[in-house]
Symmetry: C2
């Protein structure tokens, strides 16, 4: 008999919402290992019935009730997933009645607007932000800095590039990326090019030992990757941030999501799409 319980994240669209909250709840039982399955685009009764049969078979085989997290909007599709031998955690149905009562209006029951394409203008804005961060990743120009919503500054491999891309994709933010070179770090003041944009600058720093590991993957046994050099670069970058009162955070123990949402919060940036 298997003791690895199945968990399903089922959605009528991308599955992002059901997965996100489902994972949050399951991480609370961190000694257990769940067999996770995300099933997006379950948007007809037929698809739901076929899936229900599959889950039912698993329940019987495992002698353990699968956990079924759903965010399905259509009541008939939802109903087809209501099985006796599963634990149904319904993120939509549980709350929508309370909201209808409070707002004094019925839910429109339209599907998939949360991660759907709202309109072309907003989509274009987001694409422009992605292109902005792609085109300006190497070699920063005055014009880029001028057009940026935020400018991430830090030593090489401190996490600027993935954070810029995430800010663009997730929030539609134009994030420019300024790598502090050894020449920049020789002086205690910010590079001249950055001075006019001090208010848009956000600093990233990183634990020197972690930086040493990351750089060693790319250029083993180089001066660039050496522990001494990493320690000095990080120290100099942090001094520079302090000297100018630039807000900075350490990326060492943070995921990209955490780095990005911290920047959104601390720099008081708003979602752009």
């Amino acid at each position: 008999m298997s003791h690895r319980r199945s968990a399903f994240f089922i959605s009528d669209r991308t599955g992002i919402t059901a997965e996100s909250l489902g994972h949050t709840l399951l991480t609370q039982f961190d000694t257990l290992d769940f067999k996770r399955d995300t099933v997006p685009f379950v948007d007809t009764v037929d698809k739901a019935k076929a899936l229900a049969q599959r889950i039912s078979d698993i329940a019987e085989r495992d002698h353990l009730r699968p956990l079924v997290f759903t965010s399905i909007v259509n009541p008939e599709v939802r109903e087809a997933l209501r099985l006796n031998n599963v634990v149904l955690i319904d993120f939509f149905e549980t709350f929508i009645g309370q909201l209808e009562a409070e707002i004094g209006q019925k839910a429109s029951l339209s599907v998939g607007k949360a991660h759907g394409m709202v309109n072309e203008e907003k989509y274009d804005h987001r694409m422009e932000a992605v292109n902005f961060s792609l085109n300006h990743d190497d070699g920063v120009k005055l014009k880029d800095l001028d057009e940026a919503d935020v400018i991430l500054v830090g030593v090489s491999r401190s996490g600027k590039t993935p954070t810029c891309l995430y800010l663009a994709l997730q929030y539609g933010i134009r994030a420019a990326n300024y790598p502090l070179t050894p020449e920049d770090l020789g002086s205690p003041t910010l590079p001249k090019l950055l001075l006019p944009f001090k208010d848009k600058i956000f600093g990233l720093t990183i634990d020197p030992a972690r930086l040493h590991n990351i750089r060693s993957e790319r250029r083993p046994d180089s001066k660039y990757a050496s522990m001494d050099n990493c320690r000095r670069e990080v120290n100099e970058a942090e001094s520079m941030f302090r000297h100018h009162g630039v807000t900075f955070i350490s990326t060492t123990h943070k995921s990209i999501e955490e780095i990005a949402s911290t920047i959104m919060h601390k720099a008081a940036l708003g979602r752009k799409f």
Copy 2:
């Protein structure tokens, strides 16, 4: 009196989960315009109390009870947000009891694992995927195709680049990007370089009129952007996909999230971190 109701998405970490489900629920009331505010990192009773005061003031000013969506794990922090004049929608507390009962184990009440950095190895894997898609965005080499989890093929501006980046960031997938050039499109068969990797190929297509608009933004009045050329390129690309039985989807009315999760689903790819 204002009729624009405030909605707060409050989290002890990034706010991604609370925002995602909160938005899903609010899109059901699409004739209403909510004043939305995401507040991440509310992880102490003091922070929660200060926020509660701010929300309470807004409730009084608006004569409308704010909607407060939370996913806070710590019961004391949560308690500080329990106000009389708000509608509290608690994504964590609502479900955790049912799960504890079913699983037969208490929640660990540890915070922020869902979008936290689980371990360095997984983080590195995700970074490698991002670097993979960044380094191989222009000019595809045999080695890249060999190492890719999936190869997105489509005409210029069909949505390959942002989708590759999203797949890397969100799922840790190494997605290579093969742009079909006019030369490639002259022949009904897949480019030679791609043939050995037919099973990893996923096609992207797009409505010619939309493509015409996107390309016209970049190169107005060019042959590249002309409606005739866009129509021909799209037709030839789709014929090529059909000829080889390559699965393809249209990106025209889809968000990046939808394109990416459709690819994950149809190509049966699993999350890599």
